[in-house]
């Protein structure tokens, strides 16, 4: 336990030691002149010298920029145009500055979708650099006072339109109507839905999972509600042993329902708070179902019907310590499970029922960084504490690498361990190519190996022996303006090692299997 605390403190020290890289804008800038997007016509900053100018730096590939550009056009440009200026009567102009030189068609599409009305090209980044830009979205508010353009507000990331309007309304406030008279802007909510189905089958087991998720974004808060329906179907086939005549094959089917809610709320532009809770009712996996049927047949006199279920609650904090390029997140989750327990019958003793209530506490730290212009990384470290067991340490490192304009390689390696002797490794690689910006094809390979689950205290141990698995899959994805669809699948192979002593009854549970995997996912934003 002391070692675990040391590791957490070590992680915390690293996080606290990181330096924040917030935008450093100058107090004022000289006027500039830029060309309009796809035009030879130029626009000079001094054309707006009697008013206030809002600069919105964007690129078509910047996902958060879309929301910023849309809101600035609708709730700043059009709002103040309708009111004939800010409370002091100063006109307000939003200038959208495109910093991306390539793929003009994508930029045209971005402008059409966001409604940006005056777009200038800053593709060499001259103005962006002069204003100390270090990430987009980057929003600047300028006003000309005493003959020079003063920077009233500069922020990488987005604090919301209320903040921008507060700054605009404060310009020359004493001369006009009070900014407090203005109503607080009400932003429209946006929605997204996702539906995903996974299937995994062998010649005696069929597993399915279908999850529907609704994402509701309102201002600085995002609500994510998901419901999953899972099925487990097992052709239970017990081991044949001498003088054991009571075991019978059976077809066992179960359903599981899961409901999960998570909430994200931006406390500040750099800090986001996360919270989640949920629960499920039903068997979590096919091995528990298989073992439950075994114990039901083996001990009909003392067996009690299992009703697996569970609940969880979690909280976390996301820190964007370098705007748009580096994130650190710390999460804590508590889960309680009521499981289908094991049974044991020793000579001259009554039937013993194993532990059925488990509590699991998990602390995890996630780091995400843009390392180079072609590499994005994510690292997850976690410590898990489950009732009656030693601490489990786990880690996962992912690297997404843009090999070329239309090729991406996604690599993940993971490791976990638990005393006294459990260790597991896995590696997954996905190579994806972009055919025309809408159609993507992928090839996935995965390999996993562990040393076998921890031996249990029962004489008749149901713990899995060492396991090796591998998977190869092909995928196709279509990506539209607001929707995306993916279909993938392939073979999956599981190979267990030799069973230990007194574990012959489970040889059909832990036998080698050849599986098929299929995955279908759809998302739509509106």
């Amino acid at each position: 336990m002391r070692l675990a605390v040391f590791r957490l403190v070590f992680l915390g020290a690293i996080l606290v030691g990181m330096t924040s890289a917030l935008a450093q804008a100058p107090a004022s800038i000289p006027p500039f002149t830029l060309k309009k997007f796809e035009s030879d016509e130029t626009v000079s900053l001094d054309q707006f010298s009697d008013g206030i100018v809002v600069l919105d730096f964007f690129a078509y590939w910047c996902v958060p920029c879309r929301k910023v550009s849309t809101e600035l056009e609708e709730h700043v440009q059009q709002y103040y145009a309708g009111k004939k200026g800010n409370p002091a009567g100063k006109p307000v102009q939003v200038l959208s500055l495109n910093i991306e030189q390539g793929r003009a068609a994508r930029t045209r599409q971005y402008i059409r979708q966001t409604g940006a009305s005056l777009v200038l090209d800053d593709v060499d980044g001259r103005v962006y650099k002069a204003l100390g830009g270090r990430g987009i979205p980057y929003v600047i508010v300028l006003a000309k006072e005493s003959g020079q353009w003063n920077v009233l507000y500069a922020h990488a990331g987005y604090e919301g339109v209320d903040k921008i309007r507060q700054v605009i309304d404060s310009v020359g406030a004493a001369a006009g109507r009070s900014p407090t008279d203005e109503p607080v802007v009400s932003l429209p909510a946006t929605h997204a839905v996702e539906i995903g189905s996974d299937g995994l089958w062998s010649n005696d087991i069929l597993l399915t999972d279908t999850t529907a998720t609704h994402i509701y974004m309102l201002g600085k808060t995002e609500f994510r509600t998901s419901y999953s329906f899972s099925t487990l179907e097992v052709d239970y086939n017990p081991a044949e042993e001498a003088f054991v005549f009571w075991r019978e094959p059976a077809n066992v089917t179960e359903e599981r329902h899961t409901l999960q809610e998570s909430i994200q709320h931006s406390l500040t532009p750099a800090l986001t708070m996360n919270g989640s809770f949920g629960g499920y009712d039903g068997f979590q996996d096919y091995r528990s179902l298989w073992l439950n049927e075994f114990y039901r047949q083996e001990y009909p006199a003392g067996y009690e019907e299992a009703k697996p279920r569970g609940a969880n609650i979690g909280a976390g904090l996301l820190w964007e310590y370098a705007p748009t390029t580096a994130f650190a997140q710390v999460d804590y989750a508590w889960q309680t499970d009521t499981i289908a327990p094991g049974y044991e019958k020793k000579p001259f003793l009554p039937l013993a029922r194993g532990r059925s209530e488990l509590d699991t506490h998990t602390v995890s730290v996630t780091l995400e960084n843009i390392l180079t212009p072609t590499l994005r990384s994510q690292a997850i470290g976690l410590v898990t504490d489950t009732t009656g067991r030693e601490l489990r340490y786990g880690g996962q490192a992912s690297l997404n690498w843009a090999l070329a304009e239309n090729w991406v390689l996604r690599s993940t390696v993971g490791y976990s361990e638990e005393a006294p002797r459990f260790e597991a490794w896995f590696v997954e690689e996905t190579l994806e190519t972009d055919i025309d910006g809408r159609w993507f094809f992928s090839l996935t390979g995965r390999w996993y190996e562990d040393t076998g689950e921890i031996d249990d205290s029962l004489l008749l141990s149901s713990a899995a022996p060492e396991l090796e698995t591998w998977h190869v899959g092909l995928g196709i994805r279509w990506q539209g303006e607001h929707s995306a669809l993916k279909l993938s699948g392939g073979p999956y192979f599981t190979r267990y090692g030799a069973l230990g002593p007194f574990t012959e009854p489970f040889q059909n549970l832990y036998r080698e299997r050849d599986w098929g995997i299929v995955q279908l996912a759809f998302s739509h934003q509106f």
Partner: protein, 72 residues
């Protein structure tokens, strides 16, 4: 082995990420949807059902706890 892995994981990621920032004009490729670490099933490549078989691949929840009926 675990110490080497955890050390490489932390120092590699934090160290590289904190040294310097990639300028915005160079971020186009890393900002593509398939370069992000998304929660969306459309961009997640791991089948959720595999966690039922591989007790060492879960990175959240109590799945590994519920997977064994009597493990210590």
């Amino acid at each position: 082995m675990k110490k080497v892995f955890l050390f490489a994981l932390l120092v590699g990621s934090v160290g590289c990420g904190s040294v310097g920032q990639v300028s915005i004009s160079d971020q186009r490729l890393v900002s593509k949807p398939n370069m992000l670490f998304s929660q969306s099933g459309v961009f997640v490549y791991q089948n959720r059902l595999i966690a039922q078989i591989e007790p060492g691949s879960a990175t959240s929840g109590g799945g590994q706890a519920a997977g064994c009926t009597s493990c210590k």
